[in-house]
Symmetry: C2
Subunit: 192 residues, 2 copies
């Protein structure tokens, strides 16, 4: 059963840890998008397997799932969530071109937004955020980056349709994201 193409506006967000993806998601929610967080699909799978939801366990499970079931496994875990969503859907946390292709194959167009911050900025933010699964030093930070890069996140960033730079205050990114999403919604509504 394939979905009807074009019946939804599908937006994907890709970015390194600490780049500000969730801020784009927040803006999207305020605008009526349903947000599918790809990490949540991994967390749900972890729960089914009785694993602790620590950051490291999640990253290991993500790598294990990919090794076992191929590079589109996390995208596939998200399909039911996208299928049952409304017209406007944002998918947070895309990690590779394989995933981009999987979504495009199933749903037709996917607008890919990359969020970029310099390593230095992301490091400062993650240290300040201090979630249990955030890195506590530069070495851990680099290791976490490496895991993301090993999956091919860089290629997805390189081929993004839109690039949001997040080096300034949060409100600046929020405003840019709002304007971009507003434009995508307008263009989508105006389709034939």
């Amino acid at each position: 059963m394939t979905e009807k193409r074009g019946e939804r506006l599908l937006v994907g967000v890709v970015g390194m840890p600490g780049s500000g993806k969730s801020i784009v998601s927040d803006v999207a929610r305020e605008m009526g998008f349903q947000v599918v967080v790809m990490g949540d699909a991994v967390r749900a799978e972890a729960q089914r397997r009785g694993l602790e939801p620590t950051g490291e366990a999640m990253r290991n499970l993500m790598l294990k799932l990919r090794a076992e079931r191929g590079p589109t496994v996390v995208a596939e875990l998200c399909f039911p969530l996208v299928d049952s969503a409304g017209e406007l859907v944002l998918i947070e946390g895309i990690r590779s071109l394989h995933e981009v292709e999987a979504f495009r194959e199933r749903y037709g167009r996917l607008h890919l937004i990359a969020v970029h911050s310099s390593p230095r900025t992301r490091f400062k933010r993650l240290i300040a955020r201090g979630r249990p699964d955030d890195p506590s030093d530069w070495e851990e930070f680099c290791k976490r980056d490496e895991v993301e890069l090993s999956v091919g996140i860089g290629s997805a960033i390189a081929l993004a349709d839109h690039m949001l730079v997040n080096e300034g205050p949060v409100e600046e990114l929020r405003e840019e994201a709002r304007e971009l999403l507003r434009r995508l919604v307008e263009e989508w509504r105006a389709r034939e």
Copy 2:
């Protein structure tokens, strides 16, 4: 013989084909930078080997050199050019984190600037530019992107210290590049 660190301001530019790297180089030249184009090092090597300097031959040679002599070979071909350059040096056409690391190991700090344009914008530009080695259709364009991505250019883009978005008129990118380079020069002159 290692170089004295910090005696130069070293800026690297990474971006997909058609993203606008050479515009950043032009601005840098106007500001007194010496520009080392990494592709020129490959072209010089091709000449030594008696190869035609077509785009495809260059990409094949680049891949061959990497396979033979490792992922930092093109960076190493550029060392003599950087060594003999002045205080302000911009290296255009970095393609991987291996190269970033090679330059950092030899020269200390390298400020990495990524230039980003959407695939659609880059395609339009390359078609309009129509250099002999530019792609003539979408399929060729995608193949050329794939070669770049296979070398790891996406990871270098993902970890760039600065991101310039080039979707608008040329003058906009020029202005942004000028401001960024001016800031880097000022900070570098004010060191210690």
